[in-house]
């Protein structure tokens, strides 16, 4: 079935540095959402993209539907960025999300 492959599964950054997370899709997806899940379990909306690139503060995300991937760039990482990041692709007309398995980010001083 439709799948979302997310990498890396874990990431450790020092404060002030940056990195990129990536999701590859096995089929054409209509849109992608990125979430941060905090320690309480809440899924915080970061981005929704049907195409192109969006930026919000220290975060930037791109969705390339033609090549079936999306990226989330984090720059100048802060301690509060620690958590698990999920991409989820919207497939078909039902709006159903298919999630990746997440990237656990730990930001160290």
């Amino acid at each position: 079935g439709d799948q979302v492959e997310q990498s890396p599964s874990a990431l450790s950054l020092h404060e002030g540095t940056g990195s990129a997370l990536r999701c590859n899709f096995t089929t054409t997806m209509r849109a992608v959402q990125w979430f941060q899940q905090n320690s309480r379990g809440s899924l915080i909306n970061l981005f929704y993209l049907a195409s192109g690139t969006k930026e919000n503060g220290r975060l930037k995300s791109t969705f390339n539907s033609k090549e079936s991937y999306s990226t989330l760039h984090i720059r100048d990482a802060q301690l509060e960025d620690s958590g698990t990041y999920f991409c989820a692709a919207i497939t078909g007309n039902t709006g159903k999300l298919i999630f990746g398995l997440g990237t656990t980010l730990q930001v160290q001083p």
Binding site: G41, S42, N45, K96
Partner: protein
């Protein structure tokens, strides 16, 4: 960020007991989804509604769960007879339905002893 309200935050049940969770979607969002997130971070779609109508549900939901989204009342998801494997975070999300962007509640964490 999100105005989807889920209750209770935590519930603990014995095997065979019923487990009921509720969700109030964001105002103006006619589409509601339920997902199950297990400890391995796997998200499983359970069921979705448009207003009061079920759009899609998986086999497990149809056989073991009772779910509804009545008008002017919270949506609910109830496991009829809890099993150990049902221990998970149950997430409710709502959407306007046009773009498909989902907004999630904080979830109900179920532990089945």
């Amino acid at each position: 960020n999100s105005k989807v309200i889920q209750t209770p935050r935590y519930l603990v049940k014995g095997q065979g007991q019923k487990a009921k969770m509720r969700c109030i979607p964001e105002k103006g969002h006619p589409v509601v989804f339920w997902y199950q997130q297990n400890k391995n971070n796997e998200f499983k779609f359970l069921i979705n509604f448009q207003n009061q109508e079920v759009l899609q549900q998986i086999d497990m939901t149809e056989k073991r769960f009772s779910a509804e989204c009545p008008s002017n009342s919270p949506c609910s998801l109830e496991i009829q007879s809890s099993e150990a494997g049902d221990s998970a975070l149950y997430l409710c999300a709502s959407s306007r339905g046009d773009t498909g962007q989902l907004y999630f509640g904080e979830g109900s964490k179920l532990t089945v002893l």
